[in-house]
């Protein structure tokens, strides 16, 4: 076993409260998010924004790591985008994407992961396919639309209704991703539970 400092031990560490294992999980889930961008889930012709599995990464980070670590993992991914790494589908990246009409969706990713994680933590005891679908749909679709669509309306000078219509073409695909993410989250919860009720993490039982 390794020595672990409890959260109250030092003011400085306690403030951010991230243990090294948390940092490792955050970095690796940010990497998963990038890798998911390499795998085209379904390719739609004529749609300018590449349609890949990346919002799946948002869902999985929240559903598996919980609100804090999941949100931070995806926030780290956004930092990668901002500093100019081509980690978005189609090798896009950089501040240009953030400034563009779809930038709001990218900025909404960490919030979506956080909300997914928050709901998952609340429903952890009763977590099954149905509750997973609920958590993941709210965090992985609704939150993203709630931030991404107004952003698009402002950035592209469209009416909210127009921006909404333009984004709704992605809804069927997002629902597919919510379903896939829920199946995976329930399986992983059984194999490797990361969120425990009452406690932040589970790490025993697996030496």
């Amino acid at each position: 076993m390794m020595i672990r400092r409890s959260d109250g031990r030092s003011g400085r560490t306690g403030g951010s409260g991230l243990r090294t294992k948390d940092m490792a999980q955050i970095a690796l889930f940010a990497a998963i998010m990038v890798v998911l961008g390499f795998f085209p889930l379904i390719e739609l012709p004529l749609v300018p924004a590449p349609f890949t599995s990346q919002t799946l990464g948002v869902i999985l980070a929240g559903a598996i790591l919980g609100a804090r670590r999941g949100g931070l993992a995806i926030l780290l991914f956004v930092v990668l985008v901002v500093i100019g790494l081509p980690v978005l589908p189609g090798g896009r990246g950089g501040l240009g994407v953030i400034m563009g009409p779809t930038g709001g969706f990218v900025l909404a990713y960490p919030v979506g992961a956080f909300v997914t994680g928050l709901l998952t933590e609340r429903l952890w005891r009763r977590y099954n396919h149905a509750t997973a679908l609920f958590c993941n749909f709210v965090g992985g679709a609704l939150v993203l639309y709630a931030i991404g669509i107004p952003w698009m309306a402002v950035a592209a000078h469209l009416s909210l209704a127009k921006a909404f219509t333009g984004s709704v073409v992605f809804l069927p695909g997002d629902v597919v991703k919510v379903v896939i993410g829920s199946l995976a989250a329930v399986t992983v919860r059984r194999a490797y539970p990361m969120i425990a009720p009452g406690r932040r993490t589970v790490r025993d039982g697996r030496a």
């Binding site: 390794m2 400092r5 030092s10 400085r12 560490t13 306690g14 403030g15 409260g17 991230l18 243990r19 090294t20 294992k21 940092m23 490792a24 999980q25 955050i26 970095a27 690796l28 889930f29 940010a30 990497a31 998963i32 990038v34 890798v35 795998f39 889930l41 300018p48 999985l60 598996i64 780290l76 991914f77 930092v79 990668l80 901002v82 500093i83 100019g84 790494l85 081509p86 896009r92 950089g94 501040l95 240009g96 994407v97 953030i98 400034m99 563009g100 009409p101 950035a155 592209a156 000078h157 469209l158 127009k162 199946l183 995976a184 399986t187 992983v188 194999a191 490797y192 990361m194 697996r206």
Partner: protein, 214 residues
């Protein structure tokens, strides 16, 4: 490696990352209030001048423009139908200027300089418990592990295909469990190298993590 940045020695490259980011955010805010095609045209000319100053190769410029233009044209078309041609030109131009300017910042700024700028931005948040120096470490860790995760995903898929599993999403759960195991090992490795202890004492942080894989 996988950065969009391009090495160069131009005056544009020499401007500190923080200043470039500041200019970009200022431009993003200011252009939003501009209602004149002439001013936006001037801004576009200014951005083009900066590209020339930075000596960005034509091929790269062309690729950048080609990715923005379809978006800008589609937006303008919608705008034209809804409000009229003036608004359409404004919206298309504004988007072109902002995206090209943002891309220029990305092209001419090293990843490490960008990380340093982000650390600087986060520094005022330190009393709230944010530890800016960790951002650099996390970025380096993520970049280092992207190929590893990609390889694991490919392995899981190959193994499943060999067993006759064709469903393209079945690789997720095994990949996630493998990744969580990897994180356990990585966390212990970081502890063994004293990353946590070092980070608790400011000044002794392993800052070299920015450019170098762990």
């Amino acid at each position: 490696m996988l950065s969009l940045h391009r090495e160069g020695r131009s005056p544009v490259h020499a401007v500190p990352a923080g200043v470039k980011l500041l200019v970009l955010f200022a431009a993003g805010t200011a252009l939003f209030f501009v209602r004149s095609v002439a001013v936006l045209g001037g801004a576009l000319a200014g951005v083009a001048l900066c590209y020339a100053l930075a000596r960005v190769p034509w091929r790269v410029v062309a690729r950048q423009v080609l990715t923005v233009v379809p978006f800008a044209v589609a937006l303008s078309a919608v705008q034209w139908l809804v409000t009229g041609w003036e608004a359409a030109v404004l919206v298309g131009l504004r988007m072109l200027v902002l995206v090209m300017l943002a891309n220029l910042v990305t092209l001419t700024t090293r990843t490490s300089a960008m990380v340093a700028a982000i650390e600087a931005v986060l520094r005022p948040l330190a009393p709230l418990g944010v530890r800016p120096e960790r951002v650099g470490l996390l970025v380096a860790m993520t970049i280092r592990f992207i190929p590893v995760i990609k390889e694991q995903a490919d392995q899981v898929r190959a193994a499943q295909r060999a067993r006759g599993v064709e469903r393209s999403t079945a690789f997720l759960a095994p990949l996630l469990v493998k990744t969580l195991r990897l994180a356990d090992g990585l966390g212990e490795a970081l502890d063994a190298r004293g990353v946590d202890g070092a980070a608790a004492r400011p000044g002794k942080t392993p800052r070299s993590g920015k450019d170098r894989p762990l």
